[in-house]
């Protein structure tokens, strides 16, 4: 009898551990990866020929990064690995992929495990459409993957543990970091301590980072309200203005801003596979519904890693392994119950920590209410907060997909990845309704822009 066909999407921590677990059970999964190399975003590998050591690239996480990369290398001859391949649609039992932007293929599956990861979560601020404003993840990728800083004088603004991590990586690499401007008040961190204590090692690493930043002369302000990013349309970013926790206005001159408010799950494949979603009240984002092992609401579709909920790299490795065991169990393979129980326990601990992080570094949704009318919300289509509010008050566009149809918010090149959450908050505040009533932008195929030639070729296959 032919082997069941299992497809894993994403060669980050979740995808690699998932594929590894499937191989250990005697399967030969297909592993689809959009990038050139494995590792995902967090353990992103530098290009061949670069010479920096693991410790320089990944700091305290060097051993974990190296272990994941070595595991992948051992795995590679035992799987059907497809790098530079975008999974752009899911229809019943079939994954649609395109390799190198041109070669399309449809792949039937018995089980699909989407380990699609996350992107930065963004709250707009006036001027964030100026050249030189990058996402927090972008600043880290520039350094990790290309040994570059995003500018000569860099400000880190937003909230979350990644803000401090990337800022300290910049300092260590010799970049000029002027300030870390955190929207979360320090008191929140103290209140979140009981939950954060679920992972004391991570908690301590965070405290060490902050101390090191201050020691390096970086101004660290907590409880700030971003007011605007200054600059001109031609020159780009020239400065940042915030209000600090005591109500004082602080001005910084800089040529680059790295902006990020923790992460949002990449859920388009789950959406296209018609998985059910639930509103996660703690993080104020819609997430696909999964059971404890990663089964979605659709038979044969499994979700693991940050694409299902934001647990970070360690959580992703555990979730990838557990989802693979769930696949194996559903396909009738014997699976070690004790291993599943241990992985579930690990994930419970990670989830307690996740809730602690949300308490300590909350998504500042209230900023959406005070965002000036002139501030751009959707960078792709240049749609302002004022235009969104008009759609609400004059056209009754209070459900996000209707708001999109009326205003084009989220209709552009990034397909709402970077404005979707904030646009929903602006609409909710303007309409005076709870955020969950506004809903979420529906995922559409293709999940990223494709060449028309590639799409035509696919129609021919079907």
């Amino acid at each position: 009898m032919a082997q069941p066909r299992v497809i894993v999407v994403g060669a980050g921590p979740a995808g690699v551990r998932c594929a590894q677990t499937l191989v250990e059970a005697g399967l030969r999964p297909i592993l689809i990866e959009e990038g050139r190399r494995d590792g995902g975003q967090i353990y992103r590998r530098q290009p061949e020929g670069f010479k920096r050591a693991y410790a320089a690239l990944y700091g305290a996480e060097a051993a974990k990064a190296e272990d994941l990369h070595r595991s992948f290398e051992a795995l590679r001859p035992k799987i059907d690995y497809r790098p530079e391949t975008l999974a752009w649609n899911v229809t019943a039992g079939t994954l649609h992929v395109v390799h190198d932007h041109t070669h399309t293929e449809t792949l039937r599956y018995d089980a699909l495990v989407a380990c699609s990861g996350a992107t930065d979560r963004l709250m707009p601020v006036e001027g964030w459409n100026l050249a030189g404003c990058y996402s927090l993840g972008a600043a880290q990728i520039a350094l990790k993957s290309q040994a570059c800083a995003i500018g000569r004088r860099v400000i880190f603004m937003g909230t979350g543990p990644l803000l401090y991590l990337v800022a300290s990586q910049y300092v260590k690499a010799g970049a000029k970091v002027l300030a870390v401007l955190d929207t979360s008040a320090f008191s929140r961190r103290l209140r979140a301590l009981p939950a954060l204590a679920a992972r004391p090692d991570v908690l301590i690493k965070g405290m060490v980072l902050t101390a090191a930043l201050r020691q390096a002369g970086v101004a660290v302000h907590t409880g700030v309200t971003p007011l605007r990013i200054k600059g001109t349309p031609e020159a780009g970013v020239q400065g940042v203005v915030v209000r600090d926790g005591k109500g004082r206005e602080l001005n910084f001159d800089c040529d680059a801003v790295s902006l990020g408010y923790h992460l949002r799950a990449e859920t388009q494949l789950a959406d296209l596979a018609q998985c059910k979603f639930r509103f996660d009240a703690e993080s104020r984002q819609w997430l696909p519904t999964i059971d404890v092992d990663g089964r979605s609401s659709v038979a044969g579709v499994y979700l693991a890693g940050d694409g299902a909920r934001i647990l970070g790299a360690d959580g992703a490795e555990a979730a990838g392994r557990l989802a693979a065991l769930a696949v194996l169990s559903d396909l009738g393979h014997p699976v070690p119950q004790d291993k599943m129980t241990a992985l579930r326990r690990t994930l419970e601990k990670m989830d307690r920590f996740r809730l602690g992080l949300i308490q300590a570094f909350p998504w500042p949704h209230e900023q959406a209410a005070t965002l000036p009318d002139a501030a751009v919300v959707c960078r792709c289509e240049t749609i302002t907060a004022g235009e969104l509010r008009r759609v609400v008050t004059e056209m009754g566009g209070c459900e996000l997909n209707r708001t999109k149809a009326f205003s084009r918010v989220g209709m552009g090149r990034c397909q709402g990845r970077y404005c979707g959450h904030a646009a929903a908050e602006v609409v909710a505040h303007a309409a005076g309704v709870p955020i969950e009533v506004v809903g979420r932008l529906r995922g559409q195929a293709p999940v990223k822009p494709l060449l028309m030639a590639a799409l035509e070729a696919t129609t021919g296959d079907a």
Binding site: G35, F50, N129, A147, R379, R413
Partner: protein
């Protein structure tokens, strides 16, 4: 302005690669993404279609599509996920497209 937006902090011993940006020869390093190659010398990658100024990319992970540039032949490239190649001829404004007229 000859100063670019990005600053190299390490890994500068790589072989150099020459390419053209808007008709001017610029120097980059083997292993650079096209984005790093361009922003080592330029301040931006393209102009917003909606008149709010220049853009220089945003996410660097192939998700936002803000870093599209074009070859002189009209091929669109996502600068953050494309490796630089010797002799590339890049423009930061989309080349004129002549639409076929079937009438």
């Amino acid at each position: 302005m000859n100063a670019g937006r990005f600053v190299r902090l390490a890994e500068t011993a790589r072989a150099s690669v020459q390419l053209q940006a808007n008709g001017r020869t610029i120097s980059a390093l083997e292993g650079d993404t096209l984005m790093v190659a361009l922003l080592g010398s330029l301040g931006h990658l393209r102009h917003s279609e909606f008149g709010d100024g220049v853009r220089s990319g945003f996410c660097l992970m192939g998700a936002c599509q803000d870093c599209w540039v074009w070859t002189e032949d009209g091929e669109r490239l996502r600068a953050c996920t494309t490796a630089v190649r010797e002799g590339l001829r890049i423009v930061t404004n989309p080349p004129e497209v002549s639409w076929p007229n079937p009438a």
